[in-house]
């Protein structure tokens, strides 16, 4: 289970399913960032219920949630959504027993006043979501750009985040 931190400055949560090809790209990013063992950065992976995000980011200042997207853009393209004050979901949510997604978790967190001080969704466009498929090379390339983007934005050891060189 993912429990709340006592306090954490920065958190990256990789979301996805490692058995569904490019859907595992959020988990891949989380694993690469964990390997770097960066001070002041916590890393978590979320494979199950997205509502667990509400506990995962409790007591954290700045959170990046990395997930795969399927929007028709070029595979590997990276989009950044600052959802701290702006909704990711348009209109009523299609909340179902199986279908709660990251967008639902963010909006539920907003309704319950359980969002971190800053919450950014990093969406990496996937291409191949077949069961058992490997992550596409082009999508990994996009993921590396996403990692650079996150690292530039981290607030580490009291320092202010560096300017984002490539926000989109």
């Amino acid at each position: 289970m993912i429990g709340p931190f006592d306090y954490q400055k920065n958190l990256v949560v990789g979301v996805g399913n490692a058995d569904r090809g490019d859907d595992g790209i959020g988990l891949w990013v989380a694993a690469r960032l964990r390997e770097r063992n960066l001070p002041g950065l916590a890393v978590r992976e979320l494979r199950g219920d997205p509502l667990r995000l509400l506990d995962a980011w409790a007591n954290v200042d700045q959170v990046f949630v990395v997930d795969a997207s399927f929007s028709g853009r070029m595979p590997g393209s990276v989009q950044r959504f600052d959802v701290t004050h702006k909704s990711l979901v348009a209109g009523n949510s299609r909340f179902s027993s199986h279908g709660a997604g990251v967008g639902n978790a963010v909006e539920l967190g907003r309704a319950l006043n359980r969002l971190p001080s800053r919450l950014v969704i990093i969406a990496i466009e996937g291409k191949d979501f077949r069961c058992g498929a490997a992550i596409s090379p082009g999508v990994k390339k996009g993921a590396r750009r996403a990692m650079e983007l996150i690292l530039r934005k981290l607030t580490i050891s009291g320092q202010e985040p560096q300017a984002c060189m490539n926000g989109r």
């Binding site: 289970m1 494979r47 909340f95 179902s96 027993s97 199986h98 279908g99 309704a111 006043n113």
Partner: protein
Amino acid sequence: MGNSDRRSRTVKVGYLARVEGEGGLYVKVQGGEVVDVRLDIFEPPRFFEAFLRGRDFREAPDITARICGICPVAYQMSAVHALERALGVNVDGQLRNLRRLLYCGEWIESHALHVTLLHAPDFLGYADGIQMAREHRDAVERGLQLKKAGNEIMTLIGGREVHPINVRVGGFYRVPTRDELRPLEERLKVARDTALEMVRWTAAFTFPELETDYEFVALRHPNEYPFNDGRIVSSKGLNVTAAEFEEYFEEQHVAHSNALHAILKGHGAYLVGPLARYNLNFDRLSPLAQEAARSTGLGATCLNPFRSVIVRAVEILYACDEALRLIAAYEAPDFPAVELSPRAAAGAACTEAPRGMLYHGYRIAADGSILSAKIVPPTSQNQKTMEADLRAFVQSHIDLPKREMRLSCEQVVRNHDPCISCATHFLRLDLDRSEA
């Protein structure tokens, strides 16, 4: 819309919301009479019974768990019991208790989600659980706390909260130590109090009138509220074993649904699920759960499907209570599983999924490969009754304005927490009112 228009119209919900899977709803009214009702299930067929053919019997619990992300334990439990019966093995003692504890976890998390985020918005007038959360924060937090407690049981016993990986035919791959269960006790004591508050909260909703004459069908055990064991009984006299299920129940294909409709032969439509369990097993609930139900005025019998939201809350309370009882009596078994050897055989079992009785029947070859599998999920069994509910509701509320009619029809379906992927995401309602 004038009253005369309302007496001939079509109510159509193209895509039902706050249910699982893809389905819609069509109701046609002519001259003040409901002439056609269809719960359209257009979720594509999923072919699990065919996937199982040729696979080793030991793979069944992990394959069938994938049928559902919210009630995988039910699929695992019905699978292991059916296969153990085929192999002549009885899994008893603490292994049986651990299975019951795992099932408590699934009921708590599944019911808590449905009561709070899927069903309660209907009663309180919100489009969804998120909008409701802004004004009913405490109630939603309670639901999330309960869901978390259920998930923790699933994680500890099942290895993970979605699609557990620790269940096997014969028992488990690993059993917890007593010390590992201890932290759950404190969490569940709090959850039990939270569940009691949820019972009171749901009891204060306003409920539309709808009295039904269902044939309730559920398991009944000599001394337990049913999870894994019991005879199949009904409110109209049925009393058979799971091995006899296919003699008494029949699945039928209908053109408008990709899920088979089940009937009780010679009787017709029936209802499984919390309402059926409650009405057939009220005396098997723990004293605390019975008392909580009585305090809401629910009584031992409940025939209004809208009140099923209270029954689910009572079942959450019971599951917390039962989980605490099981943990208090737990001693780690010497072996995590009973050894078994394949043989040519057949076996069947029913267990009680959160949404109702779930049947699995298997035939296996001497080498342990599965020759055939039959799975009858609760939502398949309830489809005819959901259509009957819609017919009765629309007929008795024929003059409701179109928007209210559409929302109420959706609520009628959500009363039964249908899982259309097990048998559909949400609902299009077509209400056709035309001149006779």
